[in-house]
Amino acid sequence: MTIHKNCEGLRRRDCLSLGLGALLGGGLVSALGSRATAAGQSKKPTGCILIWLDGGPSHIEMFDPKPTAPAEVRGEFQPIETKVPGIFFSENMERLAAINDKFTIVRSVCHNQNNHGAGNHYMMTGAPTRIPVSCGAFVSFHPSMGSVVSAERGAPHNLPPYFSLPSITRSGGPNFLGARHAPFVVADDPNSKSFRVRDVTLPQELDDGRSVNRRQIRKKLDQLVRFQDRSAGDPVMGADENYQQAVSLMTSDVALRAFEIDRESESVREAYGRNSLGQRALLARRLVEAGVPFVTINDGGWDHHSNIFPAFKKQGRSLESVVATLIEDLDQRGMLDTTLVIVMGEFGRTPQISTLPGSTTPGRDHWSSAMSILVAGCGTPRGQVVGATDVRGYAAIEKIYGPENLVSSVYLKLGIDPDKIVYNTSGRPAHLVSDPRPIAELM
């Protein structure tokens, strides 16, 4: 509890000491915003792949090892050197350690929402829940990053601008931005031979010819009269537009190619790993390549209250291998400069190892005062660590930031002003992010 307060207290003090800077804040942020927009216009448009580790991954077992802490904090794993001298990761992050000159770890984002429902909401939207919610909650009080990007950016070729694979994250919805900015969920497994993107590619039983034929008959039999004059406000005209968009998406080579993951060479597919997560990361890269600005990969099973060490040997390694491949692949393709990769969950985990009642193996519990976030690409620094936690990994103690700052950074990188005013369904204005200052070190 004391540590918990500490985190918040420091943040408050941080803000106070920034008081003077805050006076200039607006100007600075808008300058950054306009630069991001300018960058977005002059170069290839930016995109973001968010790998969401649902449950809250342990910072100590990943990017913030604590070798000098007592055994009940340190855990089973040793720190390893990384490519950047002076930076250490936990031993399971071997492949990432070898390429951490390509990305940054932020060790100092923290908040005060210690349950999954609220923590997820805070990290996914940059806003805390307005009322307390429970661990099991899937709540939405504010639009998620993906939905905001969908609304602000859109996507070419009639592609949905916001994908979520294989499911929507708890707070990944559009809230007041409306259903049109909900994520396009692709539940099917791209690792499966019969993989198809639902609704966009035809069901297996249906061949192209039959689908074309159906659309031709439709053209003849669709005889409902339309009121062409716009002042008549005929909603059917809108539906016609949607139909045209749907058909052009179904027949767009660029879009369809993005979905055809088997166009990738065997070696690339192998490099990503022949598992669902690996192939989803590959699909995400293909989508961003085709112009989709935001893809979330929702990867569950990171709530390690027990069995944490065996899990990290397996799950941790398999994740880091996927992330490392993704970053290398983006880099080799020259896409890393325009693609932001974020790997995070709702919070970190308790430094003190615990064995919960009813459990036979040790684990760590929810801990929002400290966490590690991997950030790569889109002009973020390569080979850095931002902020730090104390020697036992309890609390962020340097360059302390909140979820607001992380989300603001993502928006700025994608050319969106986090200080923009948005209106909820009852017309009430609100800022996109209440604290629009980005994590300065990432900018």
Binding site: G19, A22, G26, G27, G117, T129, I131, P132, V133, S134, C135, G136, A137, V139, S140, F141, P160, F176, G178, A179, R180, R198, D199, V200, T201, P203, Q204, E205, L206, R210, S211, R214, I217, R218, K220, L221, D222, L224, V225, D229, S231, A232, G233, P235, V236, G238, A239, N242, A246, M250, I421, Y423, N424, T425, S426, G427, R428, P429, H431, S434
Partner: protein
Amino acid sequence: MFIPRPSIRFAFSLAVAIGVFVSRGAVFAEPAKEGQALHPAGVTFELDIQPLLTRHGCNSGPCHGKSRGQNGFALSLLGFDSDFDFSALVGEGRGRRQFTASPESSLLLRKATGQVPHGGGKRIEVGSPHYELLRQWVESGSPRTPADAPQLVKVVCEPLTQILAPNQSFQLRVFAEYSNGTRRDVTDVAAFQSNDRTYAFPSMDQAGLIVAGPIPGEAAIMARYMNNITVSRVMIPQAGEVPEAAYASLPRLNPVDDLVWKKLKLLGMLPSHPTNDATFHRRAYLRIIGRQPTPDETRAYLADSSTGKREALIDRLLERPEYADFWANKWADLLRPNPYRAGMKAVWNLDAWLRDAFRRNLPYDQFVREIVTAQGSSWRHGAAVVFRDRPDTVEIASSVSQLFLGIRLECAKCHHHPFEVWSQDDFFGFAAFFSRIGHKGQGLSPPISGGEEMIFSTPTGQLNHGRTGTPVSPRTLGGTDVTISPDDDPRVVLAHWMTSPENPHFAKVMASRVWAELMSQGLVDPVDDIRATNPASNEQLLDYLAADFREHKYDIKHLIRRIMTSYVAGLSSVPANRNLSDTRNFSRYYRQRLRAEVLLDAVNDALGTEEEFAAMAPGSRATQVWTYRTSSLFLDTFGRPDANQDPPCERTSDTTTPQILHLMNSPALNQKLSVDSARPAQLAASDLSNEQLVDEIYLWIYCRLPTTSEKQTAVEFLPGKPERRRAVEDLFWVLMNTPEFTFVD
């Protein structure tokens, strides 16, 4: 439910817009011709300076008016708290904001004029009349308005109504009236807002200049000065003369028709023709019971030649069992407890209560009384779940006022509503009725569980005013303080006031809801935001419907019958000569996409298939699903509201590209289309000729017979019987993927 539209957003974007006006030849400092100098003290804070802060957007929501201010300078939103604003300007900022010895160096002036960097940019020109006022005020020592100064009593505008031709404009003038009888022209410092910018909007170049849009219609222009509002109505009639007889000869099946014709006459519009029997038949089914008629029902109706067949149809539908499920489903949208807060059992319990209420046709006043005064276990008494879902006094008060009175009090919790008459005092007085609710049970606070909870009335309990912190007595809106003995439940007193015949709000908001549900478009928009600044498109009609509803003992079925048996409800959606641009006045029927549940049921009914829902008995229909947590990609794609959103997400009737894609390509739907037991396969294997078969398909999907040319086209496409199954499936697919199926017309 009830079609929210984004138009309301304009209302608030005003806060941003105010600051964009460019002041031209402002004459504010001069008293208007009727008036005299308001106070010998000269330029003072409340009378002269605060209006400027509002006028230039300084205290607007996106700027210093937001609760945490902007860059350390906070004002009350739109200037509702003068003490706060005065101390912010004069007391805070280490005296830099106003500097009597050198007024020009005051931060107030230097920021506003952009002489030092200002996030809000340059708002006022150096040397302009407004600048002069600010300067004089600072120079004279930043005085407050003395207590004996005239008080602002009300704000009026002239003219109150104006008729314009398209693209014409007129000057609206706003006057402030003071307690000493003076009156001054405040047009230059008033803010203007249109409720529908399509038809008329305030010019950005000249304060109070109102410009008509290019098409006939109507708009309400709100003018605000300090915390006072006034409304002027602008009408842009259709060009050309319509002979009186054209209106006199229009049918009047009930008073609804006459009131609609009266309004159309003002706008110089004439209604469309009545729609055909089949379209009306389908419309009535979809609107009253949320399902499509079967081919037999359609054939019987088309064959019926009796004169009263429309009325008989409405009566028949109101007695159908689907009625209760359909309307309870709409109310579940409104009350929709969040299962993560209330627990699943409680959600089910409330849903069951709602369905039962509609099955019994519980009179609406009783329905509301039972909700507002609910007591008992959240596991046994469904209505009590509302209080488990909204345990916070402030939250339940806002919900009750919006749902049952059409009054949005939520804003008034923190600040004076910018477009409303209700103040913070009104809000807390109303909320105090909910300050003596007892909660006992499990999972009341995090971690919230699905446990049981008892709701009861306690003898003690009080609500403190959000700003002053002092205890508040219950007070009805627009009424006086009420004393309630410890033995009585304040909610009973409230419910009595709400449902009494004298209450002007109660019947109106339900009439507004039901009208919008049946007619696609609200008389007021949003349907439960009824206020002078958001007037109904046809006030007399809304008043009539409310009175009629009240006189018929709040019988919901009567209200539906009244609307659906009007001539107006049977009009075609196709515009005629003099109503093309009408989207508000019901000169024609307005199309609307089917609700998610109705569309899914329609798909299954047409295909002769069943949907499998989790936590539902086999054969259940989508309108019977009691929680959004019964997963359905179809329902979510078509906009079923998500009860865990806060504020709960509104149901929309938008069309989206994923909806079209889903209907075209969803594996689940294609599977249904092609299974042996489904209707396409069955019809293909039947003895029907191809001609008969096409009739059947049209009846199942469009609920009408095909025209000759449609039939010809469709039949051409069908091969002989042994090979026709694929083609029949394709025909089903084709018709289901057209708007004639997905829209009510």
